[in-house]
Symmetry: D2
Subunit: 438 residues, 4 copies
């Protein structure tokens, strides 16, 4: 039995110089209390005598001794939807190889160009898959199946096609919208009394799937984003009053921005959707930037694409799928910064970098490749056991099953009071809140 008691030299009687919050609930990072703990051992079994409530328990992913589908009858389909994300081909490869080598499945179909490949109007487009076809695809970025946005709401047509193809399992690799579509498909399947397992592998470069600690491609995205911020730093550092401005992905959640800032050690401001900030006025970004430049001669700003959307209030529009179109915070910042310093007659050299597509199409880094390999394995195990309406997630470093309905109810966000954000602003040395005093 481990002894986890920590020794101390004596009583702590000196006030910390750190500018952290004591109160909770005001969206600022807080001090840690000495009576805050986490569990080391997390395995648990439900039951009347269990100390852990059922609502806190996630089912382990992995191979079951008894399975639902007879190998000889399986026809599996794989579809990739939405934007590119590093690792798509690794996941496809892993699913195909697990089905083929572990379970002996011989009928595997790749649906081309997203859900649209299942809708007759766009042209049905299905290719047979086997280990030879997917052998080297992980060395190439993108998705060998192609992808597209939309189509996921045309549930009935999609299920018609699934029936025609005689699929009895469907692997849906995609984000929040894709998985909501997968759930609707699974419900329609159920309504028709069919026995088709629908298993999702969550894909979101923003890493914002609720309950899932990390989505595939995220580590690769941070690697590539770090290169962009390093470039911005170099440009800024090599000029008098150089300002490097980098816009990173992150519609609702600032994970990429925050992780990148921690990785490169060289940003001075990080702006994320979860933490509001003012531009003008005392304590606003522009004043702080001016102070930084006069003190150090250069500055780097990293902004998540979803940050500061309240600056665009009059311009809200929606795209075909009903998503709110984001205002371009990168260009807005670029304009406002340049205007601020022009007004003050201070010459600056601003370089703006938007590395989005170079990140999305990257080949997966080994850490992500490993993760994708295991996601694919576990998705196959779940489907073979007849489990459905679930995604494979990593929670507390363990692969688990999460119901699609539960996982798509909300979005994971950076906690402005938590340690991640605290470490990030300690790295940038920016104030916890860049807002005008009220």
């Amino acid at each position: 039995m481990p002894d986890f008691s920590i020794e101390t030299l004596g009583r702590c009687s000196i006030d910390s110089p750190l500018r952290l919050s004591v109160a909770r609930g005001n969206a600022e990072p807080v001090f840690v209390e000495d009576d805050q703990y986490i569990c080391y051992e997390i395995e648990a079994k439900p039951g009347p005598r269990s100390p852990v409530g059922r609502e806190n328990l996630l089912e382990l992913a992995g191979p079951r001794r008894h399975i639902y589908f007879s190998t000889a009858h399986v026809h599996a389909g794989i579809v990739t939807c939405g934007g590119l994300c590093p690792g798509l081909n690794d996941v496809i490869r892993s699913i195909v190889r697990s089905l083929w080598h572990l379970y002996g499945v011989r009928r595997i179909s790749g649906i081309r160009y997203g859900y649209k490949g299942l809708i007759p109007e766009y042209g049905l487009d299905v290719v047979p898959l086997n280990p030879d076809v997917v052998d080297d695809i992980h060395k190439i970025g993108g998705t060998m199946l192609g992808t597209s946005r939309g189509g996921g709401t045309r549930t009935s047509e999609i299920v018609d096609t699934i029936e025609q193809l005689n699929l009895n399992m469907l692997f849906t690799i995609g984000g929040d919208g894709t998985q909501k579509g997968a759930l609707a498909i699974a419900e329609e399947i159920e309504r028709r009394g069919l026995k088709i397992a629908v298993v999702g592998i969550p894909k979101t470069i923003d890493n914002d799937i609720e309950f899932v600690e990390k989505t595939f491609g995220f580590d690769t995205a941070v690697v590539k984003a770090s290169e962009a911020v390093a470039a911005a730093h170099m440009e800024a550092h090599s000029q008098r009053n150089g300002v490097g401005l980098v816009k990173l992905m992150g519609r609702d959640s600032g994970f990429i921005a925050v992780h990148t800032v921690l990785a490169v050690h060289e940003a001075n401001f990080v702006l994320i959707p979860e933490v509001p900030f003012d531009l003008e006025g005392p304590g606003g970004l522009l004043e702080l930037l001016e102070q930084r430049l006069s003190r150090r001669g250069h500055a780097v700003i990293v902004v998540a694409e979803g940050a500061g959307q309240y600056f665009f209030q009059n311009e809200t529009t929606y795209d075909a799928s009903g998503n709110r179109k984001l205002g371009d915070i990168g260009l807005l910042l670029k304009d406002r910064i340049e205007h601020w310093f022009q007004e003050r007659n201070i010459e600056i050299n601003l370089k703006y970098i938007d590395p989005s597509y170079m990140i999305r199409s990257a080949i997966a880094e080994p850490i992500d490749s490993m993760y994708c390999e295991r996601l694919g394995n576990n998705a196959v195990h779940a489907a073979m056991a007849g489990k459905t309406k679930l995604i494979i997630g990593l929670v507390n470093n363990t692969f688990v099953h999460i119901p699609i309905r539960t996982a798509t109810m909300g979005r994971k966000k950076v906690d402005p009071e938590g340690s991640l954000w605290r470490d990030a602003i300690e790295a940038t040395q920016q104030p916890a809140m860049m807002v005008n005093p009220r």
Copy 2:
């Protein structure tokens, strides 16, 4: 309250074709049962009504509202010991910057070349550190302080020097031996009635520190190891009967080998210290290799340096520190494989790769850089709060304090019955046990 219940299509009545074990305790990967769960929420507080036992609780790392040391009186020392590991400079940089910028500490000393830099016989060697000195060191591999092996047992001399230097906190960056040395130092400090905090940052490229889910540099090691295995695959694949053989780090634990095999998708055999294997005889490695070559024409073998040490029983020697010297399993395999096929008059092309030093000296990948940044922050928070005899660890994705005594009692190993090893041998398609039938 999340609903984590998983739906299924029906009862699973078909036996799985997977060759996994049902029984536990026989060192083979096992099937997962449907009643295996993990906790999602892991925060807990101890107390009479807590459902979680005290022995399962780890103290959260992070900044405390009240601290033990007065900033003006702090003189901190940093020492790096043992072999190189990606991220050493990132950790040094983070500690220096956290002390300086967050807490206002102005006296920070780097001890050069490991514990020996604190022992007069080897020449005391201490350099002043500040944010300017460490500004760009993370872009360079190795450790700016230098390192060495040994010296950690000369506790009394080391504490003499610490007293002379007037240090009141010491950050020890190193592996198992280093942290045991740190504990002895802290105990000697206590014996002398001094108030000096000793905080360790665990460093082991093998990732084998008990309780800690990942040590820094490990992800980078997997990235670099993957390049070596990819090279071995290319060499093997381009020859008739090509065999690529890669020896990776891993004295007692096969984590690097297993993760690399999962990352590259291209190895056919992985050999680790935790799982014994036979070379000769039916079901042994050589026979399986021959089968693989006749079936596919090439093969890749990844071996951890600590695997198969029972092949060297007559040659056990010990180094100066009392560690058992490992037999060179890479060269042994090379010889035995070549001999096996010569005897059978089969021409093979074996290429042997040992990338060890190119891995250890690598610059940290962004994922590790981020991790090092946070390790350093949290080490400083702990030391400032007067906590001592602890290491900073990551457990269930949370930074925590772990007593050095507890963390150095054993070594973390790959569980041969667990999901990591199971996924690895599913990736290689090797049998769970490569041993002769008894």
Copy 3:
């Protein structure tokens, strides 16, 4: 004596199917004739009996047995001007180390932020340099001295400062404008009867310095540009009617675009300043793009920033230095392509990538590092020998001296009739001329 005669199987009597030009002078790639040769041995000495004219001879760079400056009296200055370029720090490092270690020079000054660091109005900014200061700078992108644009025409003030600093050699690292400024400085120096050597190292990421076969940073630029085009290809390839559009550097010369297209093997159109093209009409880019999409489903276009400037004729403006501001051909193409397909009711997915700053700030690839090392060595040799008003150039793989006046008279361009452009359009399979028939 080598025998270079080529044997053939017989007379060539079949017309080549290649669509190359026979006539010269019409800006289309031409066939090669069997009587076209180059010299293997290129060393030569001038003199009355020399078969080679003086105007075809370049002086070899390198160390001379007798030198002009006494080591003890040397005070060298180094300045970097204009935009960032990979390798700047390598060149600085090489100059400092050659002066220090080879010639024993101990006074070396870095001028900060370009020529402006020599002009009192902007604040004189000079730092002492030695091997320790520059030891690791090549591992970091950008320039450790900082840079700026402009200032090079304020010759008199600059020479005043040079006199005050007592410099007797100045190394100017920069492009066409910088070297013209260097020539003016050298002429003013001469007018004042001073003995100060001015030696330039040509820096242009566009690789467009006349007579010089390759400028430093160019190979690194191609490496980074290739990553951008590979990303564009992945994005295009993963979508139905995906179009990847990449804008690369190249104001007057398309070398980066052409080399990148040859390196990645995956672009379908390359557009450079040297070869005009039509957008609309038969044989224009848009029609050809439509044909490509209907045939293959995706396309990648690489455009040099200076291509197609005639589309902006009504908008010509000039910047402070008198340079013509380029119209943004990338955005123009993006708009025109999207408009073309909207009009035809064809859905396309266009992704536009502009990787400029990520290229300029990159760390030099080893090939460039090697080149920079040798450029720096040779620049020092030239200055120590009292040679002035020259740049160090690589011609036919040999380091030579080229007078600044000669090197800045024109710009090197891609020859539309030459083999480089021919190989590029063979790689893309685009027509030699994408213009409407007249």
Copy 4:
């Protein structure tokens, strides 16, 4: 007409402090004289009035207006031989695409596993090639055709197979031995009165083909070798008396070692086959190493595998092909260095790195990809024009035809008196000759 005259500040009357040789012919780097020049313009035509002798003229490569083979009748074969080299797949891809897209050839066969694939005893092994098959192979290292050593001397059997296959052009991608084999094949073809073009693409990672300025894969090799030397430097730098020792490729010529040393800027000794050195005694390597360690505390040594072979005189053996087997200079140096310091009771930390296979199997860097693309194009142009018994070479940056007989008569070597070696020893600061005074 360019004016290339260089201006100087005055007469050079001071002796240079550089320790270079004045005399020629003693294998030490020499000073450059002021009357040494190279030609800028190198195009020339032979003829009675030409100032350039026929023996100095190389025929330009490229597409001819009239060709020898009728497209419909062409059956082309491609074979890769010998060790792996970055870019093999790029060359294969380029040949296939040029034949297919430019000339319309539809019958292209890949010979598998080197010349052995053409010899019945080993099993004939031929695969059809087309643009789809080769589309993504350049993203993968190795050779898609496989390779082997030997077999090239069994000319008659090979030509029998070529006749059976009805090949009328053969592209041989390989080194010195491969091209000698190709010449013998071409001569046998001629003897039989056949009309089959044999065109070689020289492949040698050592870059030692006579007359050819650079072979493909060489730049990539330098990139990867640089990583190994950087690792050695990090290991050495992080230890007291750390010694990094790296063995690089280079049987007869030290080009990789020399270029790498120039690229990384961090080696202190470079040892190549062309320049002899002593180990023991005054002025020998070991004494100089000891001096370096006592002065700087660490050292990096780069050695080409063919250096110092005279240390193995009693052990000369030959392999099956009649090549002299090299003694392992890396291990010899390791032993001798360790012994030297043990005898003197000086503790050192030596790390030995042999990155050979990780270099050979690397994916081609973009610079090499570009080069391979153009090599392939030009090889196809030559074969279609009925030219034979030639290799495609790059000379003075121009693609030319070189007769195989001429190119295989000798080996290109580093000139110990030339500027490349001079720059290398200026970079390492080692003496020009590390030999005992006689």
